[in-house]
């Protein structure tokens, strides 16, 4: 699926996409949160950009771990520890590897979800990034299991994540800042679910 070079390429695309979508993500967060999700992530991924020089000679696990630590120490807010945990757990999983395959990726999504659920004490259906992550993982795993077709599986994953975003519009937030709005959060999509989907799309496009 991806070697070290490919992983860095994907990371580069995520950095660029987050930057491009910064205002959009912030605008989403403005409606049901505090209007900083795009700003937070952009600050974090801009910082990741600055450490890319240190990736030289590192394996995928070490790179993902370094990214996770950088995100934790620069993003702030709720999404910082959550995405940071996801990358750090993924790094631990892929420790020593210089190549990863689809099974690695599926497992990586799983440990990310587990890490986020544990840290954020959230489950599916609370209008968070998990509502894109969990369906995406499940769709990718099911599709890949059935067809062993990475391209097809990732497409199914992106589709499931996008459906997850749509789903977040229909539910009340019970975690994160949007939960303070109660019923008023209905009708609006979750910024974190949106930013996760953006990252998954980068994987789909380049992997």
């Amino acid at each position: 699926m991806a070697d070290v070079k490919k992983v860095i390429e994907i990371i580069d695309k995520i950095i660029a996409d987050v930057d491009e979508q910064k205002l959009f993500l912030t605008e989403l967060d403005n409606v049901i949160g505090d209007g900083d999700h795009g700003i937070n992530l952009a600050r974090g991924f801009d910082a990741v950009k600055t450490i890319e020089g240190t990736f030289e000679g590192k394996d995928i696990g070490a790179i993902l771990k370094a990214i996770g630590m950088k995100l934790v120490s620069t993003v702030g807010g709720a999404s910082g520890p959550l995405y940071g945990t996801a990358f750090m757990k993924s790094g631990a999983l892929l420790n020593g590897k210089t190549e990863m395959d689809m099974n690695d990726f599926i497992e990586m999504l799983q440990v990310s979800i587990d890490g986020i659920m544990k840290r954020g004490k959230a489950v599916k259906g609370e209008k968070t990034m998990l509502d894109a992550m969990i369906p995406a993982h499940d769709a990718i795993a099911a599709s890949y299991e059935a067809d062993k077709d990475a391209k097809k599986a990732l497409e199914a994953g992106v589709k499931a994540a996008e459906e997850g975003i749509e789903y977040t519009k229909t539910i009340i937030a019970t975690k994160g800042r949007a939960s303070y709005l109660g019923e008023r959060s209905i009708g609006h999509q979750d910024p974190g679910a949106t930013s996760f989907t953006l990252m998954l799309k980068a994987v789909q496009e380049l992997a």
Binding site: V72, G76, A78, P81, G176, R177
Partner: protein, 332 residues
């Protein structure tokens, strides 16, 4: 966006630098980011650390000093600080008697402070405990949600737990009294003008000339209800009703805080207090102490919050203990 600043990505740094340059007798800044600690480390006591996003000035750096906090960590505007910063703060102030983190109930704050506590415990064996302030009655509390937000009542936690720590109490005792304050403090706020996060450039919500937001938080987010603007007395009635419905204050003594959100003239806060005092007197709730001013702001938001803390003898005594910080000084 019209602000007296230099650059949107410099506001946090320059704010902290400006604060430290104003009050070198009280605070100094750590090298690792926007973390301020007491200018002279006070040893032999439990250390108190608090913090959150910037934009709440004087919270929290303004409360670092004798009888209150030992360290305050400031994130980007309205964004929780990161664990590494908090971790450095914890290490800087610990003196072997443990550290109490006073965290406002926001997912981001809770997650980042907890990660920092894990780091300090795992890597340095520091005894770190936490209390989570959740005084905002505008938001329903529930087991299945994140619960109420932490807002201006946090300052009472700093003052009272800070006083007990200064007296030399143990970490458990300091945590217990902090939790007692949290259990007895409730706040509700409103705004007539939103605020603009510098990096965002646009206000967090819009209000027409005759509108107000009831139940706002402290991050520029909209409140729970948009209503036509009312008189000061009517607004006070609305806020007090919610607060008084949440805890039974009848027959008790309270500390009152009328907190300005950042651009509310003191004149208006006093007009607010005029009616708050009357309503409490009428209900037989005795006011032990009143604070009127800016303690927990939201940049240039215009509005106020009312905080009531139900007191017992221990809290009264600790409230009156000496404090000497940039933003709050109490003489004996």
């Amino acid at each position: 966006m019209k602000k007296i600043i230099n650059a949107v990505d410099q506001v946090e740094n320059q704010m902290i630098e400006g604060m430290v340059k104003a009050f070198p007798q009280y605070v100094k800044k750590l090298d690792c980011g926007n973390v301020v600690v007491r200018a002279q480390k006070k040893t032999g006591k439990v250390a108190l650390i608090s913090g959150g996003g910037s934009g709440h000035e004087p919270a929290h750096g303004g409360f670092v000093g004798k009888g209150m906090l030992d360290a305050a960590v400031a994130g980007a505007v309205f964004t929780s600080p990161t664990p590494d910063q908090i971790y450095e703060g914890i290490k800087a102030v610990d003196d072997g008697k443990g550290v109490l983190m006073v965290v406002k109930n926001y997912t981001g704050d809770v997650l980042n402070f907890e990660m920092a506590a894990e780091m300090a415990a795992d890597m340095d064996g520091i005894d770190v405990k936490e209390v989570v302030v959740n005084d905002d009655v505008a938001v329903q509390d529930s087991l299945y949600t994140t619960g109420r937000r932490g807002v201006a009542g946090t300052v009472f936690v700093h003052k009272i737990a800070g006083a007990l720590a200064e007296r030399g109490a143990s970490l458990d005792e300091v945590q217990a009294v902090a939790q007692k304050v949290i259990d007895n403090v409730r706040t509700m706020g409103m705004a007539i003008k939103p605020c603009t996060v510098p990096a965002a450039g646009e206000p967090g919500f819009e209000l027409a000339d005759n509108e107000m937001e009831i139940g706002i938080g402290i991050h520029g987010e909209p409140g729970v209800e948009k209503k036509p603007l009312e008189t000061a007395d009517e607004i006070v009635d609305t806020l007090l009703e919610k607060i008084l419905a949440d805890i039974d204050y009848a027959g008790s003594e309270v500390a009152v805080m009328i907190n300005g959100c950042g651009s509310t003239p003191l004149m208006e806060l006093f007009i607010v207090n005029n009616h708050v005092a009357d309503v409490l007197a009428e209900k037989g709730i005795k006011v032990y102490k009143t604070m009127v001013g800016e303690y927990m702001t939201s940049l240039e938001m215009e509005g106020f919050s009312i905080t009531l803390l139900r007191l017992d003898d221990q809290m009264k005594e600790l409230l009156d203990d000496e404090a000497d910080t940039p933003a709050l000084t109490v003489t004996k």
